[in-house]
Symmetry: C2
């Protein structure tokens, strides 16, 4: 298995996969991260050609763990040196990654992934072997995906002790807009408004601190996430503006915010009691397996141990 990019996420994948007994090697652009990983006992290089030649020779699974802006460059090298390897990624926006992979002609052996884990820190040193324990790890079930590659990627997530959530890339991105990208913009908005009101910082307590916590994230990272997912974030923003505008009108006209407060509270209660049943009945590679898994994931289902596999090709 070959990890390209040894930052927080890639470095944690390397540690967790090695701890599960897998043979793992990795590449990173900066020599410092390579030295740190090597010092910690891992097999890392700053020589991309060498890493990809080895991946091709071993028929290794390649994990793309580079920032979005570096993706195209990396895909070009993979096409040239390791086009037949199974390929996945751990980048946060799935539609944009899918389009780049298709552009480089690597779609056939690609299955997108997204472990829903992270910390406020970055770089090799911030990684840890247990970053993914119990976390949802999305493994894409888009129309093109191959059952054999899908199984390899799902097994990697399970080896990292994550739970697999099967999902279509576009649905993943719509959900990410609702639960992460929109909340980031809301937090920035609340922080800015408080900054404009005298006395607000003086009176702010726990609920403001929690509610604006993610506004402390590095602006470049927030922008990269939100801007790469504009297609899904725009309708979420529209809906947010619509709900707030309706609540504003109700407060001005009738003195009541009952509608928003009651529906928001009910939604939060449903979230608190959201069930995560095991997905067990589907056979990977069987007729309609992708649609079955997408529907099960949408309903909250997760995969906690390997599913049966019909064949190596879907």
């Amino acid at each position: 298995m070959c990890v390209l990019g040894l930052g927080l996420i890639g470095g944690s994948v390397m540690r967790a996969a090695a701890a599960a007994g897998r043979e793992v090697f990795g590449y990173n652009r900066s020599v410092e991260a390579v030295q740190a990983a090597t010092f910690d006992g891992f097999d890392a290089t700053a020589n991309l050609d060498k890493a990809l030649a080895r991946a091709a020779a071993d028929d290794a699974l390649i994990v793309l763990a580079v920032p979005m802006p570096a993706l195209g460059l990396m895909l070009g090298h993979i096409r040239a040196a390791a086009a037949n390897c199974a390929l996945t990624d751990v980048i946060s926006v799935k539609g944009a990654v899918l389009r780049e992979v298709e552009m480089y002609g690597l779609l056939e052996r690609f299955v997108g992934g997204h472990p829903m884990a992270g910390t406020a820190h970055s770089g090799w040193a911030a990684g840890s072997v247990d970053l993914f324990v119990g976390a949802p790890w999305v493994v894409s079930v888009d129309d093109h995906v191959d059952a054999g590659v899908w199984t390899q990627v799902a097994q990697l997530a399970l080896d990292c002790h994550a739970v697999v959530v099967p999902a279509r890339s576009d649905e993943h991105d719509a959900a990410a807009a609702a639960i992460s990208h929109l909340p980031h913009l809301f937090a920035e908005t609340m922080a800015e408004i408080a900054g404009e009101v005298p006395l607000a910082y003086a009176l702010a307590a726990g609920s403001f601190r929690d509610g604006t916590r993610v506004a402390g994230s590095a602006p470049d990272l927030v922008r990269a996430m939100c801007e790469a997912n504009a297609a899904q974030l725009l309708p979420a923003l529209d809906r947010g503006i619509e709900l707030l505008t309706r609540a504003r009108a109700a407060l001005a006209d009738t003195g009541s915010v009952a509608e928003l407060v009651e529906s928001g509270h009910a939604a939060r209660m449903r979230y608190d009691s959201f069930a995560r049943p095991d997905i067990i009945a589907t056979v990977v590679g069987d007729e309609n397996w992708r649609d079955e898994l997408a529907a099960a994931g949408r309903a909250g289902g997760v995969i906690r141990s390997a599913l049966p596999v019909l064949g190596s090709r879907g």
Copy 2:
């Protein structure tokens, strides 16, 4: 000292004031709370006439700790039985309380208060002697306030181990809209939008849970806060809608959310480094003492020990 209402806040004031060595008695409408307080060794009654007669005889400071809808009834009884007592409150919206107090002709001896503390629970049993330790406790410095009463109310806050933030009622309410009421409506909105997007609950992690935490609050309490503060919440909502609409347009037109993300991040960083100097130079009752204290509070200043007092009347 007489506490009217022995719920979470009133019950905690009673405990903290008694622990500071003050003579405290209290009233509550429900016999259950009175029995619980009595069982815990406090002097409590369900007989309002008796409590107010004793307050009048002792010239006690009366603390209004009833829910907003019960305020008018309580003020009517105070006017009839204890109109000369010094009066404060611990209700969250200051402008609405001030207007009711004025309507009942009790403004002269009234100084509004708001301890910025609470928990998700309510009732006598949820209270605790250390609920206010280190918390900001707003003590109003509106134009009408009497220096002698102000000093009594500030001393109560200090006895409860809070830090006193002097503030005008309208400025308090504008700040509360920015740091509490608007964040509640934003949390409700985020929870509702996630509830409408398939897969969103399935992928939601820590940042969504924290960002929508306050949507778990009882809808009646959220409505009471927001609706009583409509005058200040409406402009905060307008500003929120304006910022989000501008970010939406920038994302659609230029693919960038840089402006909002960078200004929100900068505002959150300023909040993290916000200083709380001690207010020490003002003499309560001196010329311009109210304006001086309001300006110092607005700038982040707090009172951690009693200020010098010029006279008993401002």
